[in-house]
Amino acid sequence: MGELVRQTLRIEWKALLGWTISTVLLVIAVVAFFPAVKGNSALTSSFDSMPASVQAAFGLADLTSAAGYLQGQLFSTLVPLIFLSFAIGRGARAIAGEEERGTMDLLLSNPLRRSRVVLEKGGAIALQLIVLGAFLWLTLFVFGPIFDVHVAAGNTAAATACSVALGLLYGAIALWLSGMTGRRALSLGIASGLAGAGYLYTSIAPFVSSLSDNLALSPFQHAYGYNPVANGMQWGDFFTLVIAAAVFVAGAIVLFDRRDVHA
């Protein structure tokens, strides 16, 4: 076990480095704006007049507290965007991308089970998400206090872990589609569409009584809906996401194992 994880990381490390650097810079930029936003009551009060759902969708509620600011500007907006783009892209490529390049034939001519290929590809995505998460947390830990963003490290860790879990789930959905169809663009499109729908639903549903009953169905709600930055780790939500991800990976294994490998 592990050879394919290593091989995948060796091929993708430069891209991961790029994602990591962008994430770190983006996080620094966001926290650097906190002092300005906190002190600008005109700005924050102008958002008050907007409907609550719009405020929620753009992360504009409670911008004056550090926790509210991070929740609104990072963990309910930019971080899911980064983590999901990364995970969905990798998931869609993991199987279908190898097939489209033609390298799946080469891999599977070795004495490898297809299940192992799926598991190790999934493992490589998980590892890379954890790396991204670790740098996200570390950046907040180092740069937060410099810009007056004082949030307990445990709470930012909780919010990061839930974001990683959200990435795992959507990466697994993309992997599942990739394993089922062998089509990269299709998998990417459908998984992105599902992510977009889930995001909008989670932003809007709390303010629409007919929708809010089913909020637990949205992965985004589990990731940040209960505000882990302010409230700390919610293990139930975290494991809900991780277990759902595992189910999709299992689905990917079953479906990939049943079909022809595309040449």
Binding site: E3, L4, Q7, R10, I11, R101, G102, T103, M104, D105, L106, L107, L108, S109, N110, P111, L112, R113, R258, R259, D260, V261, A263
Partner: protein, 316 residues
């Protein structure tokens, strides 16, 4: 239909059965909707044999090969490699199998050395000295990124990864594509060596000429159906040879036509051209009665012969 090793009882087939079969397919069929990419293939390839698989592009060669690798799943029928079912015992089969894909794709980001090392690791390690030896033999620039390699160099990486773990069975789809003639010879020598050590080689090509100097037998496939399997030796022996003889003095058409096996005699002055079917001996003895200035016999074009002989079967 195409049962190649002949009858089950009596005759020379009994001897053939004593040789272990390395690759066997039984009614192997692959359909895509109503299109039959492979139609009931029955094939037996003996251990230690170099087996050529020829047919035009899209005839079903790669389909057969990818079915043997368990990359494709058959619509019906089955296949065995070294006595193991390729579906149920795929891992065990592929442990002893070397494969070169028809449309070889490698990880372009890596160098040849890195790519080969990764693949070796997936097999639990191979003899590094042997990899180095193969690389030297083919003249592979090990440390060049694959992205920057020519098609020929990429093909070398593909060949080395197929041979490096000393597999018992080699399945090579269009192995010589992209190789220059000198490297083709190196490759043919290598194939001969591993076969002499007992390995079985199945290699495909769209032209017979690439296989006739290495293969023991060739199968021809067209539109998903096996047309024929022939020993190269038999093909050569029965192939009509075109002969041209320059005599010192004119020899009559009738005299030459009377020689057993001779047909299509064309005499122009002292120069005679004709075709010889079967043994050359009566021809040599007949012309030896005259003074012969020059004698040329063309190597028969097996390809043409093969196609002529079996084209009818393809339509039928």
């Amino acid at each position: 239909m195409n049962r190649l090793q002949g009858g089950r009882k009596g005759g020379p087939a009994d001897e053939a059965r004593c040789v272990p079969v390395a690759i066997r397919t039984e009614g192997l069929t692959k359909a895509y909707g109503s299109f039959l990419a492979l139609d009931g293939l029955d094939l037996e390839i003996q251990a230690g044999e170099i087996f050529g698989y020829i047919g035009p592009n899209g005839a079903g060669k790669s389909t057969t090969i990818r079915l043997l690798l368990d990359l494709l799943r058959p619509t019906s029928g089955r296949a065995e490699v070294l006595g193991m079912d390729v579906r149920r015992q795929g891992i065990a089969v592929r442990r002893r199998l070397g494969y070169l894909a028809g449309e070889l794709a490698l990880y372009e980001e890596l160098t040849g050395r890195q790519a080969l090392r990764d693949l070796a690791r997936l097999r639990g390690g191979v003899e590094e000295a042997y990899v180095a030896k193969l690389g030297e033999r083919f003249g592979l620039p090990f440390d060049k990124p694959i992205r920057e390699m020519s098609k020929g160099n990429k093909q070398k990486v593909g060949l080395i990864q197929a041979f490096m773990h000393r597999p018992d069975v080699l399945i090579l789809d269009e192995p010589t594509s992209g190789l220059d003639p000198l490297l083709q010879r190196t490759f043919h020598e290598l194939v001969g060596e591993v076969a002499a050590q007992g390995a079985t080689v199945l290699m495909s090509s769209h032209v017979l000429s690439e296989l006739e100097h290495v293969a023991d037998r060739v199968a021809m496939i067209s539109a998903g159906r096996l047309l024929a399997v022939e020993r190269i030796e038999d093909l050569k022996r029965t192939a009509p040879h075109k002969v041209a003889v320059a005599f010192a003095a004119p020899v009559s058409t009738e005299e030459l036509s009377a020689v057993p096996g001779v047909a299509g005699v064309d005499v122009r002055g002292t120069l005679a051209r004709f075709t010889v079917h079967g043994a050359m001996d009566p021809v040599i003895k007949a012309i030896a009665r005259h003074e012969v200035v020059t004698l040329t016999a063309e190597e028969p074009d097996l390809e043409e012969l093969f196609i002529d002989r079996y084209e009818g079967a393809a339509d039928g």
